[in-house]
């Protein structure tokens, strides 16, 4: 079927096809364009979208999702998925808040503790997937339930409220540096470091190699199990950081914190152009995906569309992004075949 289609499809030179191909290759750029276009459309109906305070609100929450999405992107590039991020964020947010409210840790130590806890949880995921060879979807579905269960066990029915936290601790959520929220700067720094590592280092290239062809990578001498273990650990670490920030942003934390966030994180990664089959995509794209989704949900609220539509919308956005990827990939391969034939 693909042969016949390749012969019958000399559309490789049509402008539409070329545009689609370019969009596929430059996902980051096209996301920015769509984002800009949407901003204009929404601003016409609800000008308060572009107010400084609203932009801060959107970007601060999006920054947290983006940090988790960077870790998730690295996992997805290796042809795995980490469904436990929301449980890691929730567990870290609660334990950090509980430790602070009981004066067990200083604020700096609490940050380190949260990130360290995330790292440990991520390493557990990594061991289950890389050493015991449990498919990542099953492994992280299991640890999602285990981590959330521990969260419930620790929290009971209790919650830590804003007033129990050290004074000034939650100020970081509103703090800015040269007009940019600190959270956004943290996210940008994390994205920059991870992008550099993925692009410039031997480890970064091996992450892509493992995702595009695990067997070939193994033959080339890449230790695929080690790479898999490391990306899950990094995902845990970044989810830990996201958990600490989550606690600062919301202040009041109970055992159900961050429920449903995995969906947003995976959506951000997929919308950001990371191939769900592994092997391609960038962390910059994933971060932009997080910003894009954050902006959509904010715009929905501002144009007074029911909050109930939000989840359905996330589902549709994921499906469209993934279907588009598969479509473009097939198209690209087809045109490559056609070119070779000519």
């Amino acid at each position: 079927m693909s042969d016949a289609a390749a012969l019958a499809a000399p559309t490789t030179t049509s402008p539409v096809s070329r545009l689609l191909g370019a969009a596929a290759r430059q996902r980051e750029l096209s996301l920015l364009l769509v984002l800009g276009l949407m901003a204009i459309l929404v601003a016409i109906r609800a000008p308060q979208v572009l107010s400084a305070s609203n932009l801060t609100d959107v970007s601060v929450l999006a920054a947290i999702i983006a940090i988790a999405a960077v870790g998730e992107a690295m996992v997805v590039i290796t042809r795995n998925v980490d469904l436990s991020v929301e449980a890691v964020i929730g567990l870290v947010a609660f334990t950090v808040a509980a430790a602070l409210s009981n004066h067990l840790l200083s604020t700096q130590a609490a940050w380190a503790f949260g990130i360290g806890l995330g790292l440990v949880l991520g390493m557990i995921n990594g061991i289950v997937v890389a050493v015991f060879r449990v498919p990542s979807i099953v492994a992280t579905l299991g640890t999602l339930s285990v981590y959330r269960g521990i969260d419930f066990l620790l929290a009971g029915g209790k919650q830590v409220t804003l007033t129990e936290l050290p004074p000034g601790y939650t100020n970081a959520a509103r703090a800015t540096l040269v007009g940019i929220p600190i959270f956004v700067l943290i996210a940008v720094a994390i994205v920059a470091v991870c992008a550099l590592v993925l692009r410039q280092t031997r480890f970064g290239r091996s992450v892509y190699a493992v995702g595009s062809n695990p067997e070939a990578a193994e033959i080339l001498g890449i230790r695929t199990a080690l790479v898999t273990f490391v990306v899950f650990s990094v995902s845990g670490l970044l989810s830990g950081e996201a958990g600490v920030l989550w606690g600062i942003l919301f202040g009041t934390i109970n055992a159900t914190a961050a429920t449903g966030v995995t969906l947003q994180v995976v959506a951000a990664v997929v919308v950001g152009g990371v191939n769900i089959f592994g092997g391609s995509g960038t962390v910059v794209g994933a971060a932009l995906g997080a910003l894009f989704l954050g902006f959509i949900s904010n715009a929905l609220i501002l144009v007074r569309l029911s909050q109930f539509w939000l989840q359905a919308l996330y589902g549709v956005v994921i499906l469209i992004a993934v279907a588009l990827d598969a479509f473009l990939l097939r198209r690209f391969q087809r045109s490559a075949t056609a070119r070779r034939r000519r």
């Binding site: 498919p135 969906l263 959506a267 089959f277 109930f308 359905a312």
Partner: protein, 345 residues
């Protein structure tokens, strides 16, 4: 060892036999911790607590044997309950509403199957997106309302038992479905083709198996049965809300894998899945009777899920190492698709 003795020993190592041993041990344990454990009423309670999950685990077993997965079932339960509640509250007779809901379930499954078989997306990704869609639609339909005051016969179906027997009506539905699917899987050409797809999809296609069509029907079946589970859950709870069923997918997949179905497809049996359901039901019941908090149960289910995949993998590796030590043929030791005897049908 002679052939017969060897086979007998090998059958002891079968996953189903191990499960049965665990189940018996749990029953003995339950009897010692609580005097009410072995009563008919408690049996009905134990079964009812996880009956929706059990029903959904049957088509899920077929889907996983065929090498796919359906993570959208819990959201379909929510959508089904919401539409049922919405229609009933709007004055539609409950019988008609049930029919509509089952059709919606089939359509939802059709969408999953279409995206997997026609667009060529991995089921994992599709059923990461469609649950958000279905749950979202459930929220749109019912918002934060709760619908109750369903007809008495309907709720009676949910928590009533067969007259004179400690068997809940939904369990009868479960047994009927288990019987039909066991015959389909283990006794017909369709079943052989499902195994063939899961073992080697390309080889199956070249042998004339209509892979896409079978997978499509499996997803439709899964969606319809998930909608049925939503109806049963509504009847049992005597109320409908948009957020019902949250977290059930995890338990469904756990039952299937605990039942000895290989997560990589191609291997597993319906009797194994039935035994896994009974084991989980008895375990949950025993934990409840000993006043263990439900948080521990969620941890136990999560661990069980991981362990039930780890054990066959380790066994396979051990067998590979053993075979090599015997100086026999070199067998691949990798876990993916490696030869194993743990749960071969």
């Amino acid at each position: 060892m002679n052939g017969r003795a060897r086979r007998w020993v090998a059958s002891l190592g079968r996953w189903e036999v191990l499960l049965l041993a665990v189940l018996i041990a749990l029953v003995v344990y339950g009897t010692t911790v609580s005097p009410v454990f072995l009563t008919g009423r408690n049996f009905a309670n134990a079964i009812s607590a996880v009956i929706e999950v059990a029903i959904m685990s049957l088509p899920m077993a077929l889907i996983i044997i065929a090498g796919e997965i359906d993570l959208s079932v819990e959201s379909m339960v929510g959508l089904s309950a919401s539409i049922l509640g919405y229609l009933y509250a709007a004055g539609v007779p409950i019988e008609l509403a049930i029919v509509v809901v089952l059709i919606v379930g089939a359509l939802g499954g059709l969408l999953n199957g279409f995206l997997v078989t026609r667009i060529g997306l991995p089921s994992l990704v599709v059923t990461l997106g469609t649950p958000a869609l279905y749950r979202g639609l459930a929220l749109v339909v019912l918002e934060s309302r709760g619908i109750s005051q369903f007809p008495e016969w309907f709720t009676g179906f949910g928590f009533g038992t067969v007259p004179g027997l400690p068997i809940p009506w939904p369990f009868v539905v479960y047994l009927a479905l288990a019987f039909v699917l066991a015959v389909l899987l283990h006794g017909t050409w369709v079943g052989r083709e499902i195994y063939a797809i899961g073992k080697n999809q390309a080889a199956a296609r070249f042998s004339g198996v209509r892979v896409a069509r079978i997978k499509l029907w499996l997803f439709v079946l899964s969606g319809t049965v998930a909608a049925l589970a939503g109806v049963i859950l509504t009847a049992r709870m005597a109320s409908a809300r948009a957020d019902v069923g949250t977290g059930l997918t995890l338990v469904v997949v756990t039952i299937v894998l605990l039942g000895g179905v290989d997560i990589f497809g191609g291997r597993g049996t319906i009797p194994g899945v039935v035994l896994a359901f009974l084991t989980l039901a008895v375990l949950g019941n025993a934990l409840r009777l000993t006043n263990v908090s439900s948080d521990i149960q969620s941890i136990v289910v999560g661990l069980l899920l991981i362990v039930s995949v780890v054990i066959p993998t380790l066994a396979r590796r051990a067998k590979g190492a053993y075979d090599r030590a015997q100086g026999g043929r070199r067998l691949p030791t990798g876990s993916v698709g490696g030869p194993g005897e743990m749960a071969s049908p």
